[in-house]
């Protein structure tokens, strides 16, 4: 989880983000990628799914990210579940959005 992505590099990786930064991103990098496929970034606020983003992956390796625009009401604990096309959880990130 990071505050920004510049030149396909995550900047200021953190576990707590202030809503004042306006936007956060979930950056994922896959190596190798045997075949063209896709993954999901599932954004949960507490246990409620807030956003589901489908991202494609291309061989031989691939980096991709999803972003989330922060609002006042988004404060609280979050997690992003990275799942494959079959719904298997590949990775899970936990973070908080605060004042």
């Amino acid at each position: 989880m990071c505050e920004d992505i510049k030149e396909f590099t995550p900047e200021n990786q953190a576990i707590v983000f202030s809503i004042t930064i306006g936007r956060i991103s979930c950056f994922t990098s896959f190596d190798p990628v045997p075949e063209e496929t896709f993954i999901y970034h599932n954004w949960f606020r507490r246990d409620k799914l807030s956003k589901r983003i489908k991202l494609s992956l291309q061989p031989p390796r691939w980096s991709t990210f999803s972003s989330f625009q922060l609002r006042e009401a988004d404060q609280g604990p979050w997690r992003v579940e990275i799942t494959d096309k079959d719904g298997r959880i590949l990775r899970l990130f936990r973070f908080s959005i605060t004042d």
């Binding site: 990786q13 576990i15 246990d47 604990p77 936990r94 908080s96």
Partner: protein, 478 residues
């Protein structure tokens, strides 16, 4: 009048039955105990109670307190002191006699036979001692005695007091037309004014007559005369007619028997009427005027729960009931008399809402439900299960702008919780209590509790709800 008519029209059949039943019970108590001292003492206690109520209404604190104490003790004393009379009333009669029969002097004492027997014994100079019970119980003063229960006859009387009969020295007790006991030892009189020629038999007759309201006939062995002892009087009765008259008066049979019977019926009628009026008055005092209103907080009882499910959460544990009724009934309500029961037979796993209706509320008779607050109770039932959940920190506040929290580690990472299967199905994370960021200046550690905001979900036995949070704070790159 306009207020009475609606009230009378509201009388239920249960009320009529209630009054009738209790009137009859009161009437039967009178019939059973009217000839005993118990009844007189009961009247005394009732009078004490009445005086106590007056004393309360007049604000006589010590008087009312003292009479209340005396009444309470008197109720106990009556059972102890008059146990024999109560027992004799309840045991000596069969169920039909207790519920329906009219006791009284229905069995006539054969006065003529007794008089003939007594004077025959006197003629033959056979000593005899014959006791006729009055209204008082003699059990406390008599000793010994052999049950006889033989019908009175001249031959029977002669044989009882025959010199060679082992029981001839004792007294014979006559009740109705039966010799109930023989060989009975009577208490001796200690009077100094009795004639010196009076022997033990005469002193025994005088002793019993002084102590009770019994009538005792003594036949003197030496002088062959008949002496009658009643109260403190001892007199020689030389004429059969005179003895017969005294005996008739004592056992309650007069020449004008029909007058007695008519008087008895009148007495019973009056007693029945008084019983009805008294119970009706009591009933009216309890129920008249629905003027009192009370609010009680009553815990809810949950019934018929599926054994596999547990009640995980309820919106309330008790409800407030607004009850109305007469002041006396409202004041007399005891906690156990009002119950609120919810039937969980049809409760489905998860959240259920039940409206509390009249059938859910048990009230004492004459008390009415006006309102239930809250009227809807929410109950969560489910099959209890354990689940392992990852722990996540709930950060709040604002981190200093020059810092970034880059890592966090919680210990333990997972905890076991227990809760409803249905609820836990949708729960995948458990959060800590809020951890403020404002004071963080560098990498550090904080201990924090878990936050259970799902109500029915609880930490499982063996798991801890205290979490150690280690965090890494770094300077924000420029």
């Amino acid at each position: 009048m306009t207020e009475i008519l609606p009230f009378v029209s509201n009388i239920r059949w249960q009320d009529v039955f209630d009054i009738t039943l209790n009137s009859y019970i009161l009437f039967r108590l009178y019939i059973l105990f009217r000839a005993t001292n118990v009844f007189r003492v009961l009247i005394g206690i009732a009078l004490l109670w009445f005086i106590q109520r007056i004393a309360v209404s007049l604000g006589l604190i010590v008087t009312s307190w003292a009479i209340q104490g005396i009444t309470a003790v008197a109720a106990l004393i009556i059972i102890v002191v008059f146990r024999n009379e109560i027992r004799s009333v309840l045991q000596a009669r069969n169920l039909k006699a207790i519920l329906w029969g009219f006791s009284g002097k229905t069995v006539d004492t054969p006065v003529e036979i007794i008089v003939e027997s007594v004077y025959e014994l006197a003629r033959t100079r056979t000593g005899a001692l014959v006791v006729f019970r009055g209204k008082e119980d003699l059990a406390e003063v008599l000793q010994g005695g052999i049950p006889w229960r033989g019908l009175v006859s001249k031959e029977m009387m002669t044989s009882i007091f025959w010199h060679d009969n082992p029981v001839h020295d004792g007294a014979a007790i006559i009740e109705g037309n039966q010799v109930t006991e023989v060989g009975v030892i009577l208490p001796l009189s200690h009077r100094d004014d009795l004639p010196s020629y009076y022997g033990t038999r005469h002193r025994a007759a005088a002793g019993l007559a002084e102590a009770t309201d019994a009538l005792v006939i003594v036949v003197s062995e030496e002088r062959g005369n008949v002496v009658l002892a009643r109260g403190s009087d001892m007199s020689v009765i030389s004429r059969k007619e005179e003895l017969a008259k005294i005996l008739r008066e004592h056992v309650g049979v007069t020449a004008e028997e029909w007058t007695y019977l008519r008087g008895g019926k009148l007495e019973i009628g009056v007693a029945a009427l008084v019983s009805i009026l008294f119970i009706t008055a009591v009933w009216f005092s309890f129920t008249s005027g629905l003027d009192a209103l009370v609010t009680l907080e009553i815990p809810i009882e949950y019934m018929n729960r599926d054994p596999e499910m547990e009640i995980l959460d309820t919106s309330v544990n008790a409800v407030h009931l607004d009850l109305s009724g007469s002041g006396a009934l409202i004041k007399s309500i005891r906690p156990g008399q009002v119950q609120v029961r919810l039937d969980l037979n049809k409760a489905a796993p998860g959240h259920n809402a039940f409206t509390i209706a009249d059938e859910n509320v048990a009230l004492p008779p004459g008390v009415f439900l006006k309102r239930v607050q809250p009227s809807v109770v929410e109950v969560t039932v489910d099959v209890p299960t354990n689940k392992k959940l990852p722990v996540q920190v709930d950060w709040v506040g604002r981190l200093a702008e020059h810092l970034i929290l880059t890592e966090v580690k919680v210990n333990p990472e997972n905890v076991w919780v227990i809760g409803g299967k249905r609820i836990l199905k949708n729960v995948s994370t458990i959060y800590t209590a809020e951890v403020p960021l404002d004071n963080i200046r560098k990498t550090g550690t904080v201990n924090v509790n878990l936050m259970f905001d799902l109500g029915s979900v609880k930490i499982a036995p063996g798991s801890t709800d205290r979490i150690k949070v280690e965090y890494v704070a770094k300077e924000r790159p420029q």
